[in-house]
Subunit: 203 residues, 2 copies
């Protein structure tokens, strides 16, 4: 039985937590073993993400069940490093969970709160220099996600999907992680990787 | 200026619309040209997705600006084919937009409402037979997304990200679509594609 806690806040980059939320939730449904996936916020009101999506949390930071996995997404995580409520909660919670994870610039919050100090991490490619300039951290620039002990951090936005699938496999086995990947139908085919003549055919 | 309308409903598979929402929204921010990305629902209350996430719509189906792109996600779309309000709205709206799109089993709603009749489509791999059994439709089983005239349909869940990036490139150019992909840092690295000894190193 695994309880996943995904932090959300105003200005969060939505897909940073929504990708892992789907992967963890599909895993929970397939395992039928009481796993739960919870969205946690400072207040019970809807948060508004960086792209304008309004999402309701399941619990507040003061009232949630014990967690096994903590996930810190990015977006305005860069400015939330100045929010003592979030930083204190992350610090306290990280000390009690089995796995501490971040997506994108969520690594800034994990650095501010402590868990990413003196560790190897990944972050969004545009913020690698800025994170490393904070000191006491090694940014790995050529890995989709980085596992350092019980700390797992991913590159930007969509990187959280790969991180979540890896962690699901670590917790519940590779075969199960592969089944979750198949249900997500995560066989990516990003367009425009080649530069070929456009076929602007008539409709 | 492009207005994207993403339909949401109780039981929607969250990531089906959340992936495209991020891609379209990041595109809008980068283009700085008044593009808007709207979540549309039958009622103004929060919807609850298949994985339990509660999301607020931006507009109801009776009160939204004209759309250029319609996106129909999956999840309980299979049962929503019996909801005349959604089906009628899709039928009317599809006739006014430039592009009609679906993700996952959203193709069932597009078939019920008409736009996918006698067309080539993609859907979630578990529902290909069932969709084809409805008749008057050709399911393409080995393509991530399928473009048939102004109808673009994708395979399950994460397929919507690739579909959205393709459409962004078709609307606003390949270079722009590539910039959006870089911002999403969509360089997928799904884990466990190989079967190698697990390194269960001590933390």
């Amino acid at each position: 039985m695994t309880t996943y806690g995904l932090l959300i806040f105003d200005g969060v980059e939505e897909l940073d937590f929504q990708g892992p939320h789907s992967a963890f939730s599909i895993s929970a449904r397939m395992r039928d073993d009481g796993d739960t996936v919870l969205l946690l916020a400072e207040r019970p009101d809807p948060i508004t993400g960086e792209r304008g999506m309004r999402v309701l949390p399941d619990h507040t930071l003061n009232d949630h069940p014990p967690l096994d996995v903590l996930l810190v997404p990015g977006g305005d995580a860069k400015t939330e490093v100045s929010n003592p409520v979030l930083v204190d909660w992350i610090q306290r919670t990280a000390a009690t969970v089995d796995w501490v994870t971040s997506v994108c610039v969520g690594a800034f919050l994990l650095h501010e709160a402590g868990p990413a100090r003196d560790r190897r991490v990944a972050t969004h490619r545009l913020y690698e220099d800025r994170l490393e300039a904070r000191g006491q951290i090694t940014v790995v620039r050529d890995a989709r996600y980085v596992v350092d002990g019980n700390l797992v951090t991913s590159q930007g936005v969509t990187g959280g999907i790969d991180l979540a699938l890896w962690l699901i496999g670590r917790l519940h086995g590779r075969d199960h992680a592969r089944a979750v990947r198949r249900h997500l139908q995560y066989d990516p085919a990003p367009p425009y990787l080649a530069d070929e003549p456009l076929a602007h055919v008539a409709r």
